[in-house]
């Protein structure tokens, strides 16, 4: 065959294969309509919730669920005005989101609810009305919490009067409001107990009855020097101990015992030389802890007084047993909020309210892995399911 004829023959063969061969039939079959994805029954260890308070558009609060391994967004919740954070009980069957709505978007009658979402369908399945007093503030973990048995939801109120709303998740009802005048936030210490931090550096320890009403409320002595070196309220918890960093980087462990909360010996996050170089922690959620290995992660930067909310480009990792810094992770972008997954190969998540991306690192090696872009307007706090 001549070259030209061979070419024509090949072309004809190829064309017929395309049109007639079983593998070659290229038509996409019709797809079913109305398919809605559902999440698996149990969350994966590398999932994380990215809460978005939408600081430029308060009515549009959101919470994004992200798979840290694939870098994909799995779904989200629409969570209303001045949104703080989702709350995830250990059973994982539902997700709680304290939400605020105005009858006319930004005005009208305010109503506060706790919306209950099915954790696999991310749909509301219930709603609990609560007093319209929930604190509207920069999100932090202490703004709301579940008691240790997940039975009661605690929500910090600020009108500016200070109190705590208690919700029974079994009956799905508002139980009562406990006044906590002079003291802020809620840090659970047991199935029926939590503490708040008071303006003079004392703690307020509150115990609930089995039904969630007030049993006991007692102030401790002053544990923190709020004038010289205040404790940043963005604490993290490992077992029975809450860990707080002060503005000057002193780590304050507060341990819940049967008798109440005890201040454990403090230790510095920075050496005198590092302090002289103005290293300090900063950000919105500047601490994270990996419970199993006893590692504390802290976002740090160099800055003077008044920079306790500034994001940083380094995460320093400490061994909680020896109090020694064991690792420095340099981040790709400035971050102010971190979270660490709790499995044996943990991921380090980082975001900043100044951008809407989530950066993901290998928490052990510090190696940068991936970034998930476009997560709302102003991501605030990261919560593990």
């Amino acid at each position: 065959m001549s070259r030209g004829r061979r070419a024509w023959a090949s072309a004809a063969l190829a064309l017929s294969a395309c049109l007639c061969g079983p593998r070659g039939w290229a038509q996409i079959p019709a797809e079913p309509e109305g398919v809605v994805e559902q999440l698996p029954a149990r969350p994966a260890p590398h999932w994380v919730w990215v809460n978005d308070m939408a600081f430029f558009a308060f009515p549009d609060g959101k919470a994004f669920l992200v798979d840290g391994d694939s870098g994909r967004m799995l779904g989200m919740l629409s969570t209303g005005y001045s949104f703080t954070s989702v709350l995830i009980p250990r059973t994982g069957a539902v997700i709680y989101a304290p939400e605020i709505y105005f009858s006319r978007g930004t005005r009208g009658t305010r109503s506060d609810v706790v919306t209950i979402y099915d954790a696999t369908r991310l749909e509301p399945v219930g709603e609990i009305e609560i007093p319209p007093k929930r604190a509207s503030l920069m999100p932090m973990p202490g703004a709301q919490a579940l008691t240790d048995d997940d039975r009661f939801l605690l929500i910090y109120n600020f009108t500016p009067s200070q109190s705590v709303t208690v919700v029974d998740t079994h009956s799905r009802k508002f139980v009562g409001e406990i006044e906590t005048a002079g003291c802020a936030l809620v840090y659970p210490t047991g199935p029926r107990s939590f503490f708040s931090i008071c303006g003079d550096g004392a703690l307020l320890e509150t115990t609930l009855t089995d039904a969630g009403t007030l049993a006991r409320r007692e102030r401790t002595a002053e544990l923190i020097d709020v004038l010289k070196d205040p404790l940043s309220e963005k604490g993290v918890r490992r077992g029975d101990t809450w860990l707080f960093a002060s503005f000057e980087g002193v780590l304050h462990p507060l341990r819940a015992t049967g008798a109440g909360v005890e201040a454990q010996p403090t230790w510095p996050l920075f050496t005198p030389q590092e302090l002289a170089q103005h290293w300090r922690t900063g950000g919105l959620q500047h601490l994270a802890v990996h419970g199993a290995s006893g590692r504390l992660f802290a976002v740090v930067h160099q800055g003077g007084p008044g920079t306790h909310k500034d994001p940083g480009e380094q995460v320093w990792v400490y061994d909680l047993a020896s109090h020694k810094r064991m690792q420095t992770i340099t981040t790709r972008n400035k971050i102010g909020s971190i979270q660490v997954s709790q499995d044996s190969q943990p991921l380090l998540f980082g975001c900043s309210i100044d951008s809407n991306r989530l950066d993901i690192y290998d928490a052990t090696s510090g190696k940068y892995l991936r970034t998930v872009e476009s997560l709302g307007l102003t991501p605030t706090v990261l919560v593990l399911p």
Binding site: P160, T180, A181, G182, C198, G199, D200
Partner: protein, 149 residues
């Protein structure tokens, strides 16, 4: 070149003269310390005239005078967290509370009102209140009862 330098010199001298005049005019307007302490520690919630906001922050325009007449009431005024937990020293707090009664009360303050003392404040603020609403209502009810009789 010379002209430019002269211009700059004259300008600088004129500016300094004006600045000095401004600074001289500035010296007189320091806020009195007790009032400054009220502004920095209390005014944010209680407002410049003590009226607060209904349902959120109680008005002190009637209650402070009433409560200051009894020991229990005076103790309460020191025990409220805004007072007891504030960074003010005992003396500073005593002065602010007295200032509040004298300047924010709707009624004329009777001559039998005695200023708070540092010792009094030191004693009372050792036990800050947590259940403020209940206590306040209780004390005002007792005072109203007494006034009615």
């Amino acid at each position: 070149m010379k002209r430019g330098a002269l211009c700059a010199a004259v300008f600088a001298i004129t500016c300094s003269a004006i600045a000095l005049q401004l600074r001289a005019g500035q010296a007189a307007v320091l806020t009195p310390p007790v009032q400054a302490n009220y502004m920095l520690n209390c005014m944010g919630c209680h407002l410049a005239d003590g009226s607060g906001a209904a349902g959120k922050v109680p008005s002190v325009r009637d209650s402070m005078l009433i409560l200051s007449r009894s020991t229990a009431g005076r103790r309460y005024l020191v025990q409220v967290p805004g007072a007891a937990l504030s960074p003010l020293s005992d003396l500073e707090l005593a002065q602010v509370l007295s200032w509040m009664v004298r300047n924010l009360s709707a009624r004329t303050v009777a001559s039998d009102f005695t200023d708070f003392t540092a010792a009094e404040v030191a004693d009372y603020r050792r036990a800050p209140l947590v259940n403020v609403r209940e206590r306040r209502a209780q004390l005002l009810a007792v005072a109203a009862d007494r006034a009615a009789r």
